[in-house]
C-alpha cells in the first residue's frame, strides 16, 4: 500500500471512531428545544453557547480538583507499585507468587463493592469529601495494575546491571533508586498514564466518597447539571468537551516522551 493511501484509510478509520465524540460536541452546542429533533441536526448550526457559558462560570474548580486528584493518584500509585514490582521481579520474596495472584484478584473487585466499604473507613479516618481521600480510593484501581506492569518490566532488566551496581557497593535501595528506577522510565510513564486516566474518569468512588464538600472532581461537576427533574444536556456535554482538553494535552505530552523511549528500540518499517 502506498503511504498516502494508508494515511487516507487511517483518517477514515479515525473519523468513524471519533464520530461519537463529534456527536457529543454537536450536542454541546444544541439548544434545549432541539435536543430530540427528528431528524437530528447533524451540524450545530444555529446552536447555542449557553452550555459553555454555564461551564466556564461553574466548572473550573472541579477541573482543578480533578487534576489534583489525577496527579496525586499517579504519585501514590507509582510510589506503592514500583518498589513492589522490583521486589517481585528481582528480590524473589517467599510468597511473592501468591501476592501477585492476590493483586490480580484485587483488580477484579467491582468498584461499587469497594466504595461501600471505604465509606466506613473514610468516616473514621476523616477523609470523606476530600481530594486526598479520593486519591486513595482511585489508586486502588491502578495499584494492582501498576505492580503487574512494574514486575513485568523490571524482570526484563539484565541482572548484570544490578549485580554491577552492587559490586560498586550500592545497597538494595540505592540500586533500586539510582539504577532500576531510571531504567524503568517507560514503565513509570505507562503506569502513570493509566493511573491518571482512571482517576480522571472515575465516577463511582467520587459519588460515594466525595459527594459533598468543596473538593469535587469534574465527573461530579457534570452531575450538577442533572437536577432532580431537569437535565441540562448541552452543559453536560460542554463540560465533557472542556474536561477532555487538559487530559488530551497530557496524553500528547506523554506520547512524545514515550515515543522517544520507543524509537530507542530502533523500529524499522
Amino acid at each position: 500500500m502506498k503511504s498516502q493511501l494508508k494515511t487516507g484509510a487511517g483518517v477514515i478509520l479515525t473519523a468513524i471512531m471519533l464520530f461519537p465524540i463529534y456527536w457529543m460536541i454537536n450536542v454541546s452546542f444544541t439548544k434545549d428545544t432541539d435536543m430530540r429533533h427528528d431528524p437530528p441536526h447533524l451540524f450545530p448550526f444555529n446552536g447555542t453557547l449557553e452550555g459553555y457559558r454555564a461551564v466556564l462560570h461553574q466548572q473550573m474548580p472541579y477541573l482543578g480538583t480533578s487534576l489534583l486528584v489525577g496527579l496525586g493518584t499517579v504519585i501514590l500509585t507509582v510510589a506503592l507499585s514500583a518498589p513492589a514490582g522490583y521486589s517481585l521481579a528481582k528480590l524473589r520474596p517467599r510468597g511473592g507468587g501468591a501476592l501477585s495472584f492476590v493483586l490480580l484478584m484485587a483488580q477484579m473487585i467491582p468498584g461499587i463493592i469497594m466504595a461501600m466499604g471505604f465509606y466506613a473507613i473514610y468516616l473514621k479516618l476523616g477523609v470523606l469529601n476530600s481530594a486526598a481521600g479520593l486519591v486513595l480510593a482511585d489508586s486502588t484501581i491502578a495499584v494492582p495494575f501498576g505492580v503487574l506492569i512494574f514486575t513485568a518490566f523490571m524482570s526484563g532488566i539484565p541482572s548484570e546491571l544490578i549485580n554491577a551496581a552492587e559490586i560498586d557497593g550500592a545497597g538494595t535501595f540505592r540500586t533500586f533508586w539510582s539504577v532500576v528506577l531510571p531504567v524503568s522510565r517507560n514503565a513509570v510513564v505507562t503506569v502513570s498514564l493509566f493511573a491518571f486516566l482512571w482517576a480522571w474518569s472515575d465516577f463511582v468512588f467520587a459519588t460515594t466518597l466525595d459527594g459533598g464538600g468543596n473538593q469535587q472532581p469534574i465527573t461530579l461537576g457534570i452531575y450538577h447539571y442533572i437536577g432532580n427533574n431537569n437535565q441540562q444536556w448541552n452543559a453536560i456535554m460542554a463540560t465533557a468537551v472542556i474536561a477532555s482538553i487538559p487530559a488530551t494535552l497530557l496524553l500528547i505530552l506523554a506520547q512524545r516522551y514515550v515515543a522517544a523511549g520507543v524509537t530507542a528500540g530502533a523500529v524499522k518499517d
Binding site: 476523616g126 481530594a131 481521600g133 557497593g169 459527594g211 427533574n229
Partner: protein, 419 residues
C-alpha cells in the same frame, strides 16, 4: 551506604502512608459530617437533593438564613437524588446522619422503617397546616416522619398548534376514549401523539400510576382487569404509533425534550417543566390526566420532605426543629416552591401561588387530587410493588409479553415480596 539506603526505604514507606495521613489531619473537621460528635457546636448539617443549586442560589441563601435565625451555622451538602437514599442509610449506619435531611417523599417510609428518622412528635414540628393527602406519604402507623417542602405531580401538557392542525379541542379530552381518539386524529394529521416516560425505574412507575389508578386499579392487586386495561392503553398507543418507541428508555427529561421539538401533541410531565414550557417557543396548555371513565385521575405526588434524622445527642433536636420550621414556614415555602416550580403543601400558600401566577391553578387542583405512592399504609411495601410494576410495563411495551401476562407475573412477584 546501608544506612542511607535504609533511610531511603523508610522514606518511601512513609510517603505511601503519609499521603493519606496528612490529608486526614488537615481535612478532618471541615469536610466530614460531624452530626453526632459536635454536640454543643454551632454547626448543623443539611443534606438536600438539589445539587443544581450552588452557594449563590436562593435556596442555599435561605438555608444559611434559617441557620443564622436559629443561632447556628449551617453546612449544606447537595447530593444527586438517587444517591441520597444510600448515602443517608450509610451515614445513619455509621452514626453520622445530618441534622436535617431533605428527601424524595417515597423514600421517607424506607428511612423511617430503618429507624433513621425522628417523628414530628420527637422534634415538635407542627404539621397541622399541611394538606393531608400530601402529608400521608410521610406517615406510617399513625406517626409522621417529616413535612413536605412542596409538591408536584403529573398532568398533560399539550401543544396548541399541533392540536389545532389536527382539529382537536383539548377541552373534549375527558376520558381515555376521547384521548385516544385525539391521538388518532393527530397522527392522521401527520404529527406525533404523546410522549411519556416508561423507563424501568421508579420514574417509570411514577408516570404509569395516573393511568393505573385512573382505571380504578389498586397497588395491592396488580393483575386486576382494571390494571390490565391501563397497561393495554399504553401498549396500544405504542403499537398504533401514537407514542414513540423511545418511551421505554425515556426519563421525564428526555420525554420532555421530545415534546419540546414541537412535533408532539401531548406530553405527560410535571410541574417542574413549567419554566421550560415557557421557553419552548410554542403555545402550550395543560389538562389533567383523565381517568378511564372520565374525570381527573389521581396522580402520584412528587416532591421532597424535610426530615430530621435521629441523633445520639438529643439536645440538638430543639435547634433542628427551628430549622425545619423555618424551611417550611409560609413565606419561605413560597420562595422555595417558586424556585423549584413546585406547588406548596399548605392551602394558604397555594392560594398565594395561584394569585401570583394563574397558570398554576390547574396544578394546584392536580395536587389536591393526587395521592402519595406510599400512602394507604403501603409504606415500605410500595417499593416491592413498584419494581414488579415497572418490570411489567417494560415487558409489555417492548413486546415481550401481553399486558395481562406481564401483570400476572408482576403480581406473583409482588405478592411473594410483600408477604
Amino acid at each position: 551506604m546501608t544506612l542511607s539506603s535504609r533511610r531511603g526505604l523508610r522514606a518511601i514507606a512513609a510517603l505511601s502512608v503519609a499521603v493519606c495521613l496528612t490529608a486526614a489531619c488537615s481535612n478532618d473537621n471541615s469536610s466530614s459530617g460531624d452530626g453526632s460528635t459536635a454536640a454543643g457546636g454551632g454547626t448543623y448539617n443539611i443534606w438536600d437533593p438539589y445539587p443544581q443549586f450552588d452557594d449563590s442560589s436562593d435556596w442555599v441563601k435561605l438555608l444559611a438564613k434559617c441557620g443564622t435565625d436559629a443561632g447556628v451555622t449551617v453546612k449544606r451538602t447537595g447530593y444527586d437524588t438517587t444517591d441520597l437514599t444510600n448515602k443517608a442509610l450509610l451515614a445513619a449506619q455509621q452514626g453520622n446522619s445530618p441534622d436535617v435531611l431533605i428527601v424524595d417523599n417515597p423514600v421517607v417510609s424506607t428511612l423511617a422503617e430503618g429507624g433513621v428518622l425522628t417523628t414530628t412528635d420527637d422534634t415538635k414540628v407542627d404539621t397541622s397546616a399541611v394538606e393531608p393527602n400530601l402529608l400521608a406519604a410521610g406517615q406510617q402507623d399513625g406517626k409522621t416522619y417529616g413535612i413536605p417542602i412542596g409538591a408536584n405531580t403529573l398532568a398533560l401538557y399539550y401543544n396548541k398548534k399541533v392540536l389545532d392542525a389536527a382539529k382537536v379541542d383539548p377541552a373534549t379530552v375527558k376520558d381515555w376514549t376521547s384521548l385516544t381518539a385525539a391521538l388518532e386524529k393527530v397522527k392522521a394529521a401527520g404529527k406525533k401523539g404523546i410522549t411519556f416516560s416508561a423507563i424501568g425505574t421508579e420514574e417509570g412507575s411514577f408516570q404509569f400510576l395516573p393511568w393505573f389508578w385512573g382505571s380504578g386499579a389498586q397497588l395491592t392487586q396488580l393483575d386486576s382487569p382494571q390494571a390490565v386495561s391501563a397497561l393495554a392503553l399504553w401498549t396500544d398507543w405504542l403499537k398504533k404509533g401514537y407514542a414513540p418507541n423511545s418511551v421505554l428508555n425515556n426519563t421525564q427529561t428526555t420525554s420532555w425534550q421530545e415534546f419540546a421539538t414541537g412535533d408532539y401533541a401531548f406530553s405527560e410531565n410535571g410541574t417542574w417543566q413549567l419554566a421550560n414550557a415557557k421557553k419552548a417557543g410554542f403555545e402550550y396548555g395543560i389538562i389533567p390526566i383523565p381517568s378511564q371513565a372520565g374525570g381527573t385521575a389521581p396522580a402520584p405526588t412528587g416532591g421532597e420532605f424535610v426530615t430530621a434524622p435521629v441523633q445520639t445527642d438529643t439536645k440538638r433536636y430543639a435547634t433542628t426543629a427551628k430549622l425545619v420550621a423555618c424551611l417550611s414556614s409560609a413565606d419561605n415555602a413560597l420562595t422555595t416552591d417558586t424556585t423549584l416550580s413546585y406547588v406548596a403543601a399548605t392551602s394558604a400558600v397555594q392560594d398565594k401561588q395561584v394569585a401570583a401566577n394563574p397558570d398554576l391553578k390547574v396544578w394546584v387542583e392536580a395536587v389536591k387530587a393526587a395521592k402519595g405512592r406510599t400512602s394507604d399504609n403501603l409504606g415500605t411495601k410500595y417499593p416491592k410493588i413498584s419494581e414488579p410494576l415497572w418490570g411489567a410495563f417494560q415487558a409489555a411495551l417492548s413486546g415481550g409479553k401481553s399486558p395481562a401476562d406481564a401483570l400476572k407475573a408482576a403480581q406473583t412477584t409482588a405478592a411473594s415480596a410483600t408477604k
